[in-house]
């Protein structure tokens, strides 16, 4: 689903990613761990297409695969790994071919099926959550040649996603992230992910600033929304705590702009025990 080859990127002229390679297949959850300054957030922003993050070498190819039919039918289900989610698409605009992700604008990447979860979700005064999400969802649907979602269908879906993540309709009507606590912002990210139903989620420090209960809610959200044979997750995190709740298939250590070690879930525990310096050496 995602193939990163020898990726180099600079921020303000300073090299941050220095030959990063990574392969993520559909159905997999990968964790990227590493010390501060290793380039973890840069990787997220480069994949998301943020201005100021300049790719100086390498490639990122994305295979979103065929999207399943109408998202309206994919109302949240607590039944993990629900096989019905695999039902084939009818008339989706998404391609079966590999896409050069770096050639797309940020909004086009989103429409292609990429979701970027922010470490610090942005506050947008004057724009309500509902308005923001409906605009986003319909912009993506338009970009894929799908019909726009009606206000009624959207609100039903928004309510269902909000309920699943403890985000009330009252919060949904408030301005995007304005006055939200750290935990509420992260839960709001998950509501957005649930509504948008991406193929690949890159989640940057989604666990930071969460107490243990909120962490559980967010982890449940990731598992419910993204644990599926046709989806994949790149979890960027400092700590192993989240990885007890969202168990990764692979763990990678990012240090000085490159993946220096890869392994199974046990690697996260090793890192927690021995520190990055030891493991990455």
């Amino acid at each position: 689903m995602l193939n990163i080859t020898n990726l180099h990127a600079t921020v303000a002229g300073k090299p941050i990613l220095k030959g990063l390679s990574l392969e993520v297949n559909a159905g997999e959850i990968h964790a990227i761990m590493g010390p501060n300054g290793a380039g973890k957030s840069t990787l997220g922003y480069v994949l998301g297409g943020r201005e100021g993050y300049e790719v100086t070498g390498g490639s990122v190819m994305f295979l979103p695969g065929t999207v399943r039919a109408e998202p309206v039918e994919a109302l949240p289900s607590s039944n993990l790994g629900d096989q019905e989610k695999e039902s084939p698409s009818t008339g989706s605009g998404r391609t079966e071919e590999w896409i050069d992700l770096l050639a797309l604008e940020a909004d086009e990447r989103a429409a292609a099926g990429l979701f970027l979860g922010f470490q610090y979700p942005v506050e947008i005064p004057g724009v309500s959550n509902v308005q923001f999400l409906r605009t986003a969802l319909n912009a993506q649907r338009r970009a894929r040649g799908e019909a726009e979602m009606s206000a009624g269908d959207f609100l039903r879906l928004a309510r269902a996603e909000g309920d699943a993540l403890g985000v009330s309709m009252d919060m949904m009507k408030r301005n995007v992230n304005v006055g939200f606590s750290g935990g509420e912002k992260k839960r709001n990210e998950m509501v957005q992910m649930g509504l948008i139903a991406p193929r690949l989620a890159v989640l940057d420090e989604t666990d930071s600033g969460l107490d243990i209960d909120a962490l559980r809610v967010v982890a449940d959200g990731i598992n419910r929304i993204m644990r599926a044979p046709d989806k994949a997750v790149l979890l960027i995190t400092h700590y192993q705590r989240l990885l007890d709740l969202v168990v990764p298939d692979f763990v990678h250590v990012l240090a000085d702009g490159r993946i220096v070690r890869s392994g199974g879930p046990a690697l996260a525990h090793e890192l927690e025990r021995e520190g990055y310096a030891q493991v990455a050496a």
């Binding site: 998301g48 297409g49 943020r50 201005e51 604008e105 940020a106 909004d107 990447r109 989103a110 429409a111 979701f115 970027l116 922010f118 979700p121 942005v122 506050e123 947008i124 005064p125 004057g126 724009v127 308005q131 923001f132 999400l133 605009t135 986003a136 969802l137 912009a139 993506q140 970009a143 957005q192 948008i196």
Partner: protein, 369 residues
């Protein structure tokens, strides 16, 4: 010959004059020398309101009686004093007068459409509300040419007036207001400049009675080489008055929006509560926004706050929206709309608020394709 003589006699203020430093009136004599086409418009921007009230249509400053409904509004000489104002004094003194007796409160707003077909036209107006009377007036400027207005407002004790104005289309619109707000009376003036016309809005609002309330503000939207220019003075003359000035300016391309807003608190006007919020949004690096909040306070027990900010759209917010699939153009429109909403959402009457919101929306839609 006559027209030429008048042209020579314009004697318009120049940018050396502090109150006109951001103005550019150089196009006015040229516009005034044009001959109005005089054609009547087909469709007019009347608001959809729950109740029908008076409707006045002025074409080039002259009432079109056949398409107006006076309902008690007088047409003729108007008691309006320009007090030497350089544009206000050009208004000869004829126009419309709305006078409401004690406690009178019509259910529907007075709607006035000013349609210009070229050249200059001048019109005076007076709104005089006696004790506890209430009225709403909505003025819309469309067409082209130079529309110059002098409006005198006198609110007696407890009277309430909401005056909403929007300028669209082309040319130049200059509005000069002289208002006196009596004891416990309330004046709300809301402006929307969202056409291609340049505008100059001049206001002197006197809070002449104890506990008077005045609000004057609006949204100025400019693109191309357009200029919107506001010069407003709110003068607290008696104790216990409250005033609010909320202006939101948006300038794209090489346009200029300027707001000079002053609060004056006279000696003895204790317990005055004055607030100014002047915010500007630059959509282009070549655009200009001027904001000049001023306080002049001669009383010691007052609460006055002012804030002025000029900024660009939040790049973080634009990327956040893009990461959710919202294109840059759509994101910019959403953020600009949210910025302008501060001013438009203050309009209390729903019909008017909705119409002004839609009008601004139309402008924003064009701004971002």
């Amino acid at each position: 010959m006559l027209r030429q003589a008048a042209h020579d006699g314009w004697d318009l203020p120049s940018s050396r004059d502090e109150a006109w430093r951001w103005s550019d009136l150089s196009a006015l004599p040229g516009i005034a020398s044009q001959r109005p086409a005089g054609t009547l418009p087909d469709a007019l921007p009347w608001l959809e309101c729950a109740n029908d009230g008076p409707r006045l249509l002025f074409v080039d400053g002259a009432l079109v009686a056949g398409r107006s409904r006076l309902d008690g509004i007088a047409i003729g000489p108007v008691e309006a004093e320009a007090a030497g104002h350089p544009l206000g004094r050009l208004v000869p003194g004829d126009g419309w007068t709305l006078r409401l007796g004690r406690g009178h409160a019509p259910a529907a707003p007075v709607q006035i459409v000013h349609f210009g077909t070229g050249g200059a036209n001048h019109l005076a107006a007076r709104v005089a509300l006696e004790e506890d009377a209430q009225a709403s007036v909505v003025e819309t400027y469309v067409g082209e040419g130079w529309s110059n207005r002098l409006t005198d407002i006198a609110l007696a004790k407890g009277a309430r007036l909401m005056l909403a104005r929007r300028t669209g289309s082309a040319g130049f619109v200059s509005l000069t207001d002289r208002a006196s707000v009596g004891e416990g009376a309330s004046l709300v003036v809301a402006n929307l400049a969202a056409g291609t016309a340049d505008t100059r809005l001049d206001g002197l609002i006197r809070l002449a009675g104890e506990g008077a309330y005045a609000e004057a503000g609006g949204a100025l939207l400019a693109r191309g080489r357009q200029r919107h220019d506001v010069n407003l003075v709110v003068r607290h003359e008696r104790p216990g008055g409250t005033s609010r000035q909320v202006w939101r300016s948006v300038a794209d391309d090489r346009a200029t929006c300027s707001v000079a807003a002053r609060v004056e608190v006279a000696p003895g006007a204790q317990k005055t509560d004055g607030e100014q919020s002047l915010k500007g949004l630059l959509l282009s690096r070549a655009a200009t926004i001027n904001a000049k909040p001023e306080l002049e306070i001669f009383a010691d027990d007052v609460k006055c706050a002012h804030g002025a900010t000029v900024g660009e759209l939040d790049r973080n917010a634009l990327f956040y929206m893009a990461s959710r699939g919202i294109s840059e153009a759509e994101g910019k429109a959403l953020l600009t709309r949210a910025f302008v909403a501060d001013a438009i959402d203050r309009i209390g009457e729903e019909d008017v608020r909705r119409a002004f919101g839609a009008h601004a929306e139309q402008w924003l839609g064009r701004a971002h394709g």
